[in-house]
Structures are given as structure tokens and as C-alpha cells.
Symmetry: C2
Subunit: 344 residues, 2 copies
């Protein structure tokens, strides 16, 4: 697994955004962006026009800030493009929809390498391509005068294809709780990078480029899922949002979670052993893998990507693991279980 | 005309974003955001779901960076909300569409006043309300560690209501060039603010809260406009984009422009006289009024909001005023005519 070397962050050269100019940079980015199958008017006009076959459009926005959500010395431009797209495309999937397009708001210093921005565009294009989606619009501006950081605000659009959207509020007592995708890999990779290592490659790669189970979203909707969300902030945190919005208690089975996510040998156990930690901490609280957690009516045939890990009960809204409230589980896990706390 | 006093930019108090927390801030913002008439799933889920009655969706993104596009000592939070929304809603109108929703990506320091963000939300809600539009989603994150600036990335969605989108590329020789809205007022207001003044209020207010001629966009589409764009970057610059994309020469009539935009006494002449400048410079190159420039087939009955200011000819793609190429016009105007140059 080879990766391009990170380019200089802010070199005031002929390749800089300042030298290339706003419209030159946009042209270079768009040359790498592909085209969206449903675009009637693509990038370059006042706004894009996109067909919405379902008669509804699904839309979400996720912001990535350099130094908060990515580091250019840990991830290539291509990685960052993949990651910024994936964070949004997973939210589209979590409604039961299929992505159709991205719009990208970019703030960057004048010294930013235009070639690095092309790499970001390549990563976004590659993450979108399987859906026939692409960047259809956006805006490129100079960063705040006091900042050397790149800010990427990505909006994704999607189509439900006739499906009812699966919200966070429909879980009912008796439903089965199931998960599709990986849990803890990104957090494990981040722990590795923070300690100055770049292997195991599987974990570091998962942090750099998440692999959300996109197809599982529409499949869950088709299978009658009553509620669903993606796990951007970690399983316990995001399951907590679903539980709160549905007004139910999600009763997770620690053995089922371990069986689903830790039975096969993998980087979580390997890294946890090296660091003296508990790999279950990453499974329960690690963010950015964008697994999907969904609830299904009792007796449902789960789509193949999903594994049952608990049940919905009528207790006070919240999440518990083997009867232990999530807050206590997190406290017992210690520092590695702190998950995402913003604005600190 | 009274305005709220600017709140402290970054006070580390109980009102700060850091103290209130991500989800508390989001709840306070959404409490002020109203609801979109077409929203089937509003804010708070993984993604919003919005009806798209036309079967297509129009989408654009504009990024506003504190210290580049707004200053908190010159504009209130409400002003900035209006302005951020207007910049995007005007792009929707420039396609011939009607706005339906916004999504907002916000990066701000932990010390940002949550009450100030509520004001921004109020401004956005007020700018959207006439259309039944509202904020339906977004993301709130901490700014880059090295930055004290707020970054707002706003995506607008719109509906064409069965109209064909009006792009920048359809102008044909013989067409009439016409403009709806104001020109130069925002730049005039900015010149006033830069010199430390806050009047004339009409100009300063136009800089703080642009008044795009939203209804003129769909009206132009209905009247058969062949091309259209908004004038975010100034008339000559944006007409230049339209000319380039259509492959035509836009031949503007200086007398018609002066008649349309400088005949009635107003702040442009008043401020220009005080500063010893030429008010036509602001009309030709001032950005952020979001006037609409459109081309119509010869003999068209122009919608009431539009005034004819020139004609389309088959010359080399570009813009001229009374036969003088735009670049020469800008050079002759001097510093005030430099318009928007990004990344410098």
C-alpha cells in the first residue's frame, strides 16, 4: 500500500492557490471531479441543476477543519477527499437513500498547493464514482487572515428511489438492533498515528479512508428498518441519539458486539494488545467508521450486511450494554472511551 | 434605523459555544430557524428530506469568512445571517428558480457567543421566510486551532417550478442585455465603512444586508431569458463570465447604465461627491448587490424589474461599455474599480 507523499502545506510558489488564482484553481479542481449522472446543469453556473427522480431530495452537510478532523502529515490529499466525501455520503445512506451529488465549500490560505487540492478532488471523485455522483458545485475562498488551515464544508445530495426515509425516531420496543459496517477501526488507526506509527496499515488506512457500508442503508430501508443512523461519533453516542429521538432504551449485548466485531483476528486486538488497552473500547466509542446502526421489527429478515447486537425495550430513553448504562460503560473504559467531545 | 450592538466576538463565558456545547448550540440555532414548507424530514436527523416538486433540484454553495466577507464590528449577527443567505438565494434566483431550503456549515471558535449565532440564525430565517424556505440541516464544528474567525458555508436548494433553467451560456447575437436590482450600493457602503463612517444609512445598510431582486429571476425565465447570472463580483466581472460562457460580446450602453442607476439622486452620487470619486465606478464594478443581468431575445417584453442596458453582438467574447473593452474601463476607473480580487 503506497501513498503519495504529503505536499507542502503552504508553499508560496507558482503552484499556490494565490498564484493560480480562484478561477484557475476551480478549473483544475473541476477537471478532476467527473460528472454526476443526474446533473442537468453541472458546475460553473450560478447553481447546479440536478434531477431528483424520487420527487424528493435528501441533503446533509459536514464540515472538516484541518487540525481538528484531518492532518496533512497523516493523510494525503486523496485520503482527505475520500474522507470528506464519505462522512457525507454515509449520512445519505443512513436515510435509506443513494448519493447523487456533492457541493464543496472550500476555505484555504493563498499559499495552499493547487496540486494538493487536485488530490482532494481526486479522492472525492473516487468516493462518489460508484454512485454516478460527483461534485456539481461549490465555492473557493481565502481562509481567514489569521489562519493557515484548510476548511472543507461538504454538502451531499441523495435520492430515495421511492423508499420512505428512515429517521432516528421510529424505533419501537421489541425491535431488533443491528449494525452494518466496521466499528473502532478509525479510532484504532488514530491511536496508532498519534503514537507516531503508520502500521498496522489496515487500521491507519481505515482512519484515512473510512469504508461506510453505503449499500446497507437502502437495503435496510427496503427491509423495513424502523430507525437508522450512522455512527460518526461512535456507537454509544450515536445509538444514544437514536434512542433519545425514538424515546426507547437500546439494550446492546456485549457478547454479540464482541462476536461481530472482535471474533476474527484483526488490527483492533493487535493494537490493543500492544498498547495494553481493551479493543472493545474502540468498538463502543470510536467514531468516523460510519457504520450504520438500525432497528428492525421483530422477526425481520435482516439484510446480509447487518448483524443483530441487541433489542429495543420500553425503558427510559438511552443505551445500555449488558444492562450497564452507556455513561457508566464509557466511564469504566477510561480515556480511550471518551469519544468525540467537540469544542474543547 | 437601529441595529443591535455587536456582541463580543470571543468571550469565554457561560454564553460561549464551548460552554453551551455542540448540541446545545445546535438546539438554540434551530429554535430560531423556522421550518421549510417543503421539508419532509427537517434538521436533527442524519440528513434532511425535502420535496422537489419540479423533479429537479437547484443547488449552490457560498462561503463567507470573517475578516474577508464580513466584519463583526461593521455588521450585526442578524446582518451577517441575512447576507450569507442572500448570497446563495440570489444564485438560486439567477437560474430562474425559487429557494426552498438552506444547509449551513459553521466553523467557529469555542469562545464564540451562542447568542451571536442565534442572531445569525435569525437573519437567515428572515431572509428565507418569504419563500417558505428555512435551514434544514448543517454542521457546527470548532474552528482551526490557529483561527479566531467564523466561517459560514451556506448551501441553498431551489425549485424550478417547471421552468427551464437559465444558464450563462445561452446569450445570442441580437439579444437585449437587461438588469434587475441595484448596482454599486454595497461597494459604496463598504467604502463608507472603511473610512469609519456609518452613513448614509441606505448605502451602509445595502452592504450589511443586500436586497437581491429574487422574483426577477423566475420572471426572467418565464419571459424567455436566454442567459442570466447574478452580479456577486460586480457587473463587468459577472457579465464577463456570461459573455465567455455564451461566446458573445456584451455591448453595454454607458448612458443607459447611468440612466438606470444614477439618474435618481441617491447615496452613490452623495458619497462619490464627498470622496471625489465617480459613482459609475461602483455601478460597473461593485460586488455583493446581487443584481441579475440577463439577456432576452430581440423584441421581448422585459419583465417589469428589468431595464435594458445594452445588446449582444457577435464580436470576440467579452464586455464593452460604449465600445471600450471592460479591462480598459476598469483601468480607467482606477483603484475603486478594481472589483473583487480573491486570494491577495
Amino acid at each position: 500500500m503506497t501513498r503519495p507523499r504529503p505536499r507542502p502545506a503552504t508553499a508560496d510558489t507558482a503552484d499556490s492557490v494565490g498564484a493560480v488564482g480562484e478561477f484557475g484553481v476551480i478549473a483544475r479542481i473541476l477537471a478532476r471531479s467527473g460528472s454526476a449522472a443526474l446533473a442537468e446543469v453541472g458546475p460553473g453556473d450560478d447553481a447546479a441543476v440536478l434531477r431528483a427522480p424520487d420527487g424528493r431530495v435528501v441533503a446533509c452537510t459536514d464540515v472538516l477543519v484541518e487540525g481538528r478532523h484531518f492532518r496533512r502529515d497523516w493523510s494525503s490529499g486523496v485520503d482527505i477527499g475520500h474522507k470528506a466525501a464519505a462522512a457525507n455520503l454515509a449520512d445519505i445512506a443512513a436515510m435509506g437513500a443513494v448519493p447523487t451529488a456533492l457541493l464543496v465549500g472550500l476555505a484555504c490560505p493563498a499559499g495552499t498547493s493547487a496540486s494538493w487540492l487536485e488530490e482532494v478532488a481526486d479522492g472525492m471523485a473516487a468516493e462518489c464514482a460508484p454512485f454516478g455522483a460527483a461534485v456539481v458545485g461549490g465555492d473557493t475562498v481565502a481562509s481567514a487572515p489569521d489562519s493557515t488551515a484548510v476548511v472543507l464544508s461538504v454538502t451531499a445530495l441523495g435520492d430515495l428511489g421511492g423508499r420512505a426515509p428512515v429517521t432516528r425516531s421510529g424505533a419501537r420496543p421489541g425491535d431488533v438492533v443491528a449494525i452494518a459496517g466496521r466499528l473502532g477501526w478509525s479510532a484504532c488507526g488514530l491511536a496508532v498515528l498519534r503514537r507516531g506509527f503508520t502500521s498496522p496499515v489496515a487500521a491507519v488506512g481505515a482512519h484515512r479512508r473510512p469504508s461506510p457500508p453505503y449499500a446497507a442503508g437502502p437495503a435496510a430501508a427496503d427491509a423495513g428498518a424502523t430507525a437508522m443512523c450512522d455512527t460518526s461519533d461512535g456507537l454509544l453516542a450515536d445509538a444514544g441519539h437514536l434512542a433519545a429521538d425514538s424515546g426507547v432504551l437500546l439494550d446492546l449485548d456485549g457478547g454479540a458486539l464482541a462476536g461481530a466485531f472482535l471474533a476474527a483476528p484483526g488490527p483492533l486486538q493487535q493494537v490493543a494488545a500492544a498498547l495494553g488497552g481493551d479493543p472493545l473500547a474502540w468498538v463502543l466509542t470510536g467514531g468516523e467508521d460510519h457504520a450504520l446502526v438500525a432497528t428492525f421489527p421483530p422477526g425481520s429478515a435482516l439484510p446480509p450486511a447487518f448483524t443483530a447486537v441487541g433489542k429495543v425495550t420500553a425503558g427510559a430513553a438511552g443505551v445500555q450494554v449488558d444492562g450497564v448504562p452507556a455513561a457508566q460503560v464509557v466511564a469504566d473504559l477510561g480515556a480511550e472511551g471518551a469519544g468525540h467531545v467537540h469544542f474543547t
